[in-house]
């Protein structure tokens, strides 16, 4: 029997009224007396369910509605319409029993006291979340070791680097061992080494606590490494919900054929097999990259081997980020 969903979203809508200013000084003067408003459908009738222990990636362009959805799930925003249940609670009720079981971490916002060492915020959160002494000690030690920040706990937050601060933010948000994590761009602004460290940590936290995690990120590496399932949102609408690799089946029209030739082959010759993405000669090496329709890939590869001096041939799926980029750019949703 599959586990019960712990996050249920049904026909969720969140609309905002946005003021539209007319250009120029006259527009500003007119706006003193009369203003035009436009309704922005930040989230427009989306439904999904998430089971305990799942790590789900929210993918979408800026303004697609990802953060708005997370804010509704956290009880920060009142939904315009629809039903939302997280851990059996209506988030908007903001019951302490609910709030003690989740954490919202936004990469661009922080909760650490700027003028004091991070340890003071940890102790404050211990009091806020009513964490017993032994659990606090245990969780703190575990998190500090996992993130390797023991030596910076008593340094003023304002003197820490962005990566060190983000690690401390994570500790502050996880000291009460939340079952549900909403991570909004947790790796934003971090260098690649720190991004990797945070991803490893999130993965370890999910495995150790069977925590349910929703993650939004502009870095596809975050999503690829952490999430089996992805939800794609575009202009407030849900356009894909499924296994990450299914995005390829659904949206990738082509496969990539990488070729190495033993002697020069003209571009014109290659064009009859598919779309030539790359064609170059590097010293004595002749290489090319072709895009061919997925269904014909095997047959085209066979023809290439027969007709051209192919030394090496590789058939690859296009990278997910390229597919998603293409989906959004073409509006083919």
């Amino acid at each position: 029997m599959s586990p019960q969903p712990i996050i249920q979203v049904k026909n969720l809508r969140r609309h905002f009224k946005v003021y539209q200013k007319q250009p120029g000084l006259m527009g500003s003067i007119k706006s003193l007396f009369k203003r035009k408003y436009k309704t922005v459908k930040a989230v427009d009738n989306i439904s999904f369910e998430i089971k305990r222990g799942e790590v789900v990636g929210f993918i979408g362009q800026n303004g697609a509605g990802k953060t708005t959805t997370l804010k509704v799930l956290s009880g920060l925003l009142f939904p315009t319409a629809g039903e939302v249940s997280v851990l059996g609670f209506d988030p908007w009720d903001r019951k302490p029993e609910f709030q003690k079981q989740f954490s919202l971490i936004m990469g661009q916002k922080n909760q650490l006291w700027w003028d004091l060492p991070a340890m003071e915020t940890f102790l404050l959160n211990k009091a806020i979340y009513e964490v017993p002494n032994d659990q606090f000690e245990q969780s703190l030690n575990k998190l500090v070791d996992l993130l390797q920040v023991r030596d910076i706990l008593n340094i003023q937050v304002r003197k820490l680097s962005l990566g060190q601060r983000m690690k401390c933010e994570l500790i502050a948000a996880l000291l009460h061992n939340p079952q549900v994590l909403f991570l909004d761009e947790p790796t934003i602004g971090l260098d690649v080494v720190m991004q990797k460290a945070l991803r490893d940590f999130i993965k370890a936290y999910n495995q150790e606590f069977n925590a349910t995690i929703i993650l939004t990120s502009h870095y596809m590496d975050d999503v690829k490494e952490l999430c089996e399932r992805a939800i794609i949102i575009d202009k407030g609408k849900l356009i894909f919900d499924g296994k990450l690799h299914n995005i390829i089946d659904k949206y990738a029209r082509n496969k990539i054929l990488s070729l190495v030739f033993s002697q020069a082959v003209t571009k014109q010759k290659l064009e009859k097999f598919g779309q030539v993405k790359e064609h170059k000669q590097n010293g004595s090496a002749y290489t090319a990259t072709l895009l061919v329709p997925r269904k014909k890939a095997a047959a085209v590869a066979s023809d290439l081997l027969k007709e051209l001096p192919v030394e090496d041939l590789n058939i690859e799926e296009p990278p997910i980020e390229a597919i998603i980029r293409e989906v959004f750019q073409s509006g083919n949703v």
Binding site: T67, G75, L76, R94, W113, L124
Partner: protein, 266 residues
């Protein structure tokens, strides 16, 4: 359960005080400077009213009665600046910047967090000065209030603090309705002079507005009158009732307003 939560809130209240004391001590120059400014301000205010009352009374209040009221005002004002100003400023800033998320996701009453999370220690000398002025005025008046008068005075002074907080909170909550209100937290400070004088100075329409409709004129007068044993029971009852009405209104207004929170960007 309730007892457990009370302990949590009590602990949190002092935790915040400790954090702010630590923060204040990080910037000692700032602490010295602002303590000096607030002390000078109180002494000038005292000097002004001392000069004003040397030739007679204000609104039927004798010189030392007025000075007693100034002492009460100093204590209330020091408290207002120390607690409300910092918290309200932080509250509205958080709403405009979207950092209000931090208050809403914590398993603690949002209004408790708003009201207690911040404070300043710069006005501490003013509290002492206010107490000294009160003591000296009572000695000059040769008046010894009874134990119950002192208790009633403290209760009504707390109620005055609550009323000022509620009115300020209602104004600050307008932050949910507008994209920007820079001077939203200057409204109440700019009205402080209203309760720096006895309520009897207000007559006619001004009295109707400042002692009945928006009774800011009662804030120091009623507690001082109680201490002097010349308070009217009707005014005390009105003071309690209007504070209660204001409390109910502020709660309803907050609940409606919070639905307008958009979290600054999505």
């Amino acid at each position: 359960m309730l007892n457990f939560r009370f302990k949590t809130y009590w602990k949190l209240f002092w935790k915040f005080r400790k954090i702010h004391l630590m923060r204040t001590l990080e910037y000692r120059g700032d602490l010295y400077f602002w303590s000096l400014i607030s002390t000078i301000w109180t002494l000038f205010s005292l000097l002004f009213f001392d000069l004003l009352t040397q030739t007679g009374s204000i609104g039927g209040w004798e010189r030392h009665e007025v000075l007693l009221l100034i002492g009460v005002f100093s204590i209330l004002d020091a408290f207002t600046w120390s607690v409300f100003y910092h918290n309200m400023r932080e509250y509205t800033r958080a709403v405009f910047s979207g950092e209000f998320n931090q208050y809403l996701t914590k398993p603690i009453n949002t209004q408790f967090l708003i009201m207690t999370q911040s404070n300043s220690f710069n006005n501490f000398p003013r509290l002492i000065i206010g107490g000294v002025i009160m003591h000296r005025s009572l000695v000059a008046l040769n008046y010894q209030p009874s134990f119950w008068q002192v208790i009633s005075f403290l209760g009504l002074l707390s109620l005055a603090g609550l009323f000022i907080y509620l009115v300020w909170f209602i104004f600050a909550t307008l932050a949910f309705w507008f994209e920007k209100l820079d001077n939203i937290n200057d409204i109440i400070p700019s009205l402080r002079q209203i309760w720096q004088v006895p309520r009897s100075v207000y007559t006619g329409v001004t009295s109707l507005i400042l002692t009945i409709i928006l009774p800011l004129g009662l804030m120091t007068s009623i507690p001082t009158e109680v201490l002097l044993g010349k308070a009217s029971v009707n005014w005390i009852i009105y003071f309690v009732v209007i504070t209660f009405i204001c409390f109910i209104f502020s709660q309803i207004f907050f609940k409606i307003s919070i639905k307008k929170y958009s979290g600054a960007g999505n």
